[in-house]
Each structure stands twice: as structure tokens, then as C-alpha cells.
Amino acid sequence: MIKQELKKLVVYGFFLAIILIPMLGFKSSTFEPGRAFKTLGVFLAILVLNIVVKAIRSSKRAVSVQKTPWTERMGKQINRVPRIYSIGGLLALALAFPLFADNYMIDVGITCLIYVCLGLGLNIVVGLCGLLDLGYIAFYAVGAYTYSLLNLTFGLSFWSALPIGIVLGMIVGCIIGYPTLKMRGDYLAIVTLGFGEIVRLVLNNWDSLTAGPNGLFGMKRPSLYYPGFTEDGFEWMVYYLKSLPSLYYFILGIAILTIIGVRRLDNSRIGRAWIAIREDEVAAELSGVPTTWIKLLAYALGAAFASVAGAFFAAKLSYTNPNFFLFMESCIVLCIVVLGGVGSIPGIVVAAFVLIAAPEIFRGLENYRMLAFGAIMTTMMVLKPEGLIPASRRRRELHEDIETTSKD
């Protein structure tokens, strides 16, 4: 086995060298051979880690075949605690977070919560309906730009712009959904990827409307209204959420509403129809599922959640710019869904925190922090392909052997 791995190591290293040498630049005046070796070194370290992991796994398999994995045992322990306590505890922690965190941590927390909303929205399309969408961030952009433009041109407040943003997001979702109704898998992924790029390029080049790459700025923050009593009598007072903790509580509220919404959808008739379409479209159609509408609904609802997150994002920064909506962002959201466990709500929440907070934690590594990110992803997918907290259905599917033996 070691011999095999060494062979792999040499071959991969050779390929990497071929790819890296031109990238590091022959002509560059600041050519540093050291940089190339550093990168190679990191790569080799990952491969060595791979060998170690494989060795540990194979030895474990030999020693204890019957032992249940630690994650499952931990899951059982967690399930022992009544649900209300665990959820209440998490909620209390989330509510108390700004009290002991500094501004930087709160800011990261806000970003994490935005990605929770995005991940849960994409989960409807990818996790439940089984449509691979690589351009999801386009709907986030639609939400952000809708609020920005409505606020800047017409002075609409966050709350009156939000429903318009949601409706627009849903319409755009149907626009991408309709032509791709008959597509599946790779073809759908390519079309949605192109669509995401189209939206970004339009935002980048439509100078008169979107101010191009300069972006839009000066939007009002989300506001809260409260009754006030002045000399003229009763009046609604406006409070703009400017401080980070107030924004944090605001997005926490949106995230909780999203979680409740997605959970209810998951358990509904529509949710079952989505799963049926994911499993087998023809069979779903023959069971009387109106596949066309149900698929469009998945796109529209997924887009609606992204649109809300986008509107908040633009309002929070008071600035938006096409480069916030790169393909990389779509990838990260998709990674959150896959890493957390396709179709699993708690998994996606945890994964959003892991994937968004991890690059921040590894900021000390500077340019190598994305490498740490990649290493986490790879290790996770090797060790737990069904995700951090897999949906029960998904766990059964990937560990059929365990399931069937325990049943019979």
C-alpha cells in the first residue's frame, strides 16, 4: 500500500510541477524558486497526510469491524438531551454572542448567518429537488441590487423594498428554471453556471443603471419602527440599525425564520414532491406530481431566500459591487450544502459556520489559508462523505450495509 501511495505521490508531484512552473513565471524579475518549493512542500504534506489517514483507516477496519463510528455514538448521546434544551441552549448562545464578542467576531458571525440563509435556500434546489445549481449567487445579487436601486432612486425603506426583491428574485428564478426544466445533471450545472456569470457581467457592464464595477453605495441601513410621542402627538419613530450587534440580531432573526420556513417546506407535501422528483422524475410524474410547477417552485423559493439574504447584505454594507457575486461564492454555498449533509438543516447551519469562520481563523496563514480550507474540505469528504450531520435518509443511503444488517 505504501508503495502505491509513493507512486501516486511522485506522479502527482510531477504533474503539479509541470502546472506550477509556468504559473510562477520564467520572465518575472522577482522569480523566487523558493515559492515553488513551498507550494510543492504543502502539496506533499497533504499527500503524506492522505497516506496516514488511509493507514489509520485500514488498521481500524482490520481491528474493529463491528464498532459503530464515533460520530454515530456522539449523535446518540446528543439525541438523549431533550430537543428543547439543545435548541434553547444554542439559541441562548446565539443571543448572548454579541455580549462577549468583539466587533470583528460579530462581523464574522453576521457573514456566517448570511451564508446559513444562502445554504438553506440552495438546499431546496440541490438537496431536496436534486437540481445542481452552480449560479445560485445570481439570486443573491438580484436581492442586493434590487434593494440598492430601490433605496437610492425611490428612497424605499428596507421593509418596502424587501417584498419587491423577493418577487423579483422568484421571477428571475423562474426565468432560469423554465428553459432548464428538461435538463439534468451536468447540462443543468453548465447552464446555471453560465446564467450566474451573465447576471454578474450585466451588473458589471450596465453602467447607467448599476454604476458598473464602481458599485452602488449610500443605501440606508435596515430600519425598525417604534411608536414615539412628540409635541405634535403620536408618531412612528425610525431607528436605523447601524451598530454591529443590532445588525447581528437582525440577521439572526432572518436566519431563524429561514430555518423554520425550510423545515416546514421539508415536511410538507411539496417537500415530498421535491424528493420524489429527485429520486425519479418519470415515476413522480406518473404518481401525479405536477413536475413542471414543482420544479419551478423549487427555483423560485430557493431564489426568494437568497434574495432576502442579498437585500440584507447590501443594506448592512451600505455598498454593493458586482465582484461580491463571483462564481467562487456559488461554489462556497454549494460546499456548505454538501459539507453539511445534503438535505440536512442542522448540518448546513454548522457547515456555514465552519466554512465561513475557518478562513478567518486561519488568517494567520496568509496566502495559505485557502489551502487549509481545501484541506478541511478534502479530509471531510474522504472521512464523512454524507456530510457533518447527515439527513437521516442520506445516511441510510450511504451506509446501506449497516442499515440492512441491523434490520434483518
Binding site: 415530498r272 414532491a273 420524489a276 406518473l286 404518481s287
Partner: protein, 240 residues
Amino acid sequence: MTSRQAILELSDIHTYYGNIHALKGVSCAIPTGEIACLIGANGAGKSTTLMTIFGVQRASQGEIFFKGTSIQHLRPEKVAALGVSQTPEGRQIFPRMSTHENLEMGAFLRKDKTGIQEDIEWVFSLFPVLKDRTRQLGGTLSGGEQQMLAIGRALMSRPELLLLDEPSLGLAPKLVEKIFETILEINKAGVTIFLVEQNAHMALTISGSGYVMETGRIVLADKASALLENEQVKKAYLGE
């Protein structure tokens, strides 16, 4: 076979797959309460006929009547709501749903919970094997069990007309016999059955009337017992 008694009637149906003319004027009538079968070789257009009836494939010409109303313009879910049900070819069940969930999906258009529960019990009484597999995933069932599940799922919408697409495909002879016995039993419960089969002998034995299809056309239509004696059918499909 007068048209007044027919639950389903096809008149001059043409269906295309892109440029391929798959059905070239199919006409037939399924008498209410009977088992009718459609036999023919691979690629004759048998499955296409069923898909066209259900509205998954659109007929470019011709008319389909279900209980006297024209249905060729309806979407599949509307056809299902009228009381037609179909098992897809090659036992397409939902592999990652349990047996119970599969059956529940079959009742997707129904809202009467007690009725659904009764029908699940009925399916279990027709196929007792499935009862032991209630919580097992569809994809882990054996081929025969999957076929039973597919038929069971189709029954869950309480259809008046059941379209069966090759229920014997890839099953052991003993299982085929068992499945055909159950089909007879379902028919006795009042469900009209339109059976598409390659296993011509079995299909004609249990059917009241039969149709023979060749390259998108119906070439023979008669009582099933007469078709069993027909020299042409004997030679081409019964191997005698």
C-alpha cells in the same frame, strides 16, 4: 367491443419523438372492467402508447377518450386525477424512499388519510412480502419486490384504469406467475387493466381482449382467446 362500454378509447393516435414517427395511427378500445393486453416486439411502440395515454408524451394527432371525455391535451397529473394510473417500465420506484414512503407517494393526489391507510393495507394483502419490507429502502428490494412495489404504488391512487408496462420484465418465471395472479385479483376488485407485455402467452391467457402491435401500428385486434389460436400470432409471438 362497442365503444359505449369502453373506459378508454384511442382513435388514430400519432406520436413523434423528434423526427421519429413512433405511433402511426393507433386506435383501440379498452372495455370497462376487463383486462386488455398489447403485445409486440421491442420498439414496436407499446410503451410509447402508454406514455401518450398518460400525457407524458404528446400525441400530435388523434384523440384519446377516458370515460367519454377527451384527455389528450391534459398534463399527466390531471390524467392521474381522473383515475388513471401507470407503472413505468423497468420498475422505476423511488430508490431512496422506504416501501411505506413509496406507497404514500402513490397517493400523492389524495387527502383522505384513513382511506390511504386502508389502501396500504390492501396492497400489503395483495403482496404480503412488502409488509415485511415496510421500512426498507426501495432500492434495496429484490427485482420482484420492486415490481410489486411499483404495482402497489400505482394502486394507491385508487385508479379505475391501471396501465401496466411490462410487469414481467426480467423476473423469474415463478415470480411472473405470481405477479399475473395478482393482476387477475386486482382486476376482480374492479380495476380495468391495460397490460403491455412481451410475454405474449401469459398476457393473452389472462386477458379478455388483445392487440398486436408492429412498428407503430396495431396489426391485429381480437379476443385474447382467438389471438392465442391465430396462426400469425402463434408463429411470431408464441414460438409454436
